[in-house]
Symmetry: C2
Subunit: 225 residues, 2 copies
C-alpha cells in the first residue's frame, strides 16, 4: 500500500515520508513541480539507505500523479494558502480514497495564532469542498516537523484524529501505529477547530522559551494511582 | 488573600476549594443560595480538618458577598447556562479584581461537543461582557473534577492559561503553582476557543473507554533526548 504525501517536499512531508518508508510503507511525494518531488524523493531515499536498508521505496511525482498512485491515503501537507486550490485540483481523483488533512491555518505573519476559514477549520473546509463521498480525516497537526525528521527520536506527541467517517479514522490510526505514534479518536471533523488550534499554542511555548526545550508536544495522561 | 469560587458548591468548585485551603489560601464559596454555600463550606472544612489541620478557612456566602470578599481572584465555576447572568450580576463588584473563567460551554445534551457562544468561547464572552477594565483569565478547563476531589492524587493535567492581560495570567498561574499544578501561558483570550474545546475531547475518550482509565488529562511534553 502506497501513501501519497502532497506538499511532501516540505519539512512535515519529508519527515513523514522517511518514517513511513522506514516502516516498510511505500511513499510517493507529490509536488506541483514533479522534478522537485523526484529530487526530494531521491535525497530521502539516500538518507534512508544508510540507516534502514530494508526501507520501502520513496518516489516523487506531480500532485495529480501522486494522488492517483496512492492506494488509499492521500496526505495533504501544503501551506494553508494552497489548501483549497490543491484539493480542487485532485477532487476527481480522490473517489475511493481518504484525504488526510494535516494543514494548520496559521495566521498570516503570526504563527502564534490561527486564522480559521469560514467552515471552522481546515479539515471542515476540506470536507465541504470534497463532498460527503470522500472521507476527510484531520491528523498530525501538532507534531513537530523537526522531531519527525530526527529519526533516532520517538514522536513526543500523541495525535488527535478527527473526522466524520469512523472507518477512515481507523485506517489513518492503523498507519500511525506502524510508525510508533499513539493516536486517539477525537471525534468528528468539528473537533479540528480545537486540534488545529493547539499547534499555535505549542509554537508560542517554543518561541517564548517558557518550556526549557523546543518542539513541545502534547500527551493524553492518566490520573495518578 | 482570599479566593472566591462562584458556583463553588459544584464538583469542580469543591475540589478547587479543598486544594486551595489545604495550601493555606482562604476560600469563600459563592452560590445563589447562601445557606447552601455555608453548608458546603462547613462540609469541606470538616473533610479537611481530618487530614490538614493547618488548612486555611473555607467559608460560604451568596454570590455577591463572595465576590466582594475576594482579595483579587474570583473563579467562575457555574454551568454555562448561568455564565452570562452571573457575570452581569457581579460586574460592578469586579473592579480591581480578576475574573478566572473555568466554564466550558458543553453542547446541550452532548458532553462530547462544545456549543461556543457567538464571541468564540466562554472566556471571550466574559471579557466582552465585563469590558476591558476587568481582566478575564481562562484556566482549569481540562482538569477532571473527580481528580480535583481526590486529595491524595496529583493533578494529571497541565493547565493552559489564556487571557489578554499578562499580569492577571501571572497571578492565576502563581496560585495554581501553590496547589502543585503546572501551567502554561497559552496566549490571548482567543486561545480559549481551543482550550475549552479540549474538554469534550477528553470526555469522549473517557466515555469511549479507548483509554484504559477515566479522567484523562493532557500534558505538554518534551522531545526525547
Amino acid at each position: 500500500m502506497t501513501i501519497a504525501i502532497l506538499g511532501g517536499t516540505g519539512p512535515q512531508g519529508k519527515g513523514l515520508a522517511l518514517r513511513f518508508a522506514r516502516a516498510g510503507i511505500p511513499v510517493v511525494i507529490g509536488s506541483r513541480d514533479a522534478e522537485r518531488a523526484i529530487e526530494c524523493a531521491a535525497e530521502l531515499s539516500q538518507k534512508l539507505a544508510a540507516i534502514a536498508p530494508d526501507a520501502a521505496v520513496i518516489s516523487g511525482a506531480d500532485t495529480l500523479t501522486a494522488t492517483q498512485q496512492a492506494s488509499q491515503l492521500v496526505i495533504l501537507a501544503v501551506p494553508f494558502s494552497a489548501h483549497n486550490a490543491t484539493l480542487s485540483s485532485i477532487k476527481d481523483l480522490l473517489q475511493g480514497k481518504v484525504l488526510v488533512d494535516i494543514v494548520v491555518p496559521l495566521a498570516e505573519g503570526n504563527p502564534k495564532a490561527v486564522a480559521m476559514p469560514p467552515e471552522g477549520s481546515a479539515t471542515e473546509a476540506a470536507q465541504a469542498l470534497l463532498g460527503d463521498s470522500i472521507p476527510v480525516v484531520g491528523a498530525l497537526h501538532n507534531v513537530s516537523a523537526v522531531t519527525l525528521n530526527k529519526l533516532d527520536q520517538h514522536i513526543n506527541c500523541d495525535v488527535l484524529v478527527c473526522g466524520n467517517d469512523v472507518d477512515a479514522k481507523k485506517a489513518v490510526r492503523d498507519v500511525l501505529a506502524q510508525i510508533g505514534i499513539t493516536s486517539y479518536n477525537a471525534g468528528t471533523a468539528e473537533s479540528a477547530r480545537c486540534i488545529e488550534a493547539i499547534t499555535p499554542i505549542l509554537i508560542r511555548l517554543n518561541i517564548s522559551k517558557e518550556v526549557p526545550f523546543s518542539h513541545a508536544g502534547i500527551r493524553i495522561w492518566a490520573p495518578d494511582h
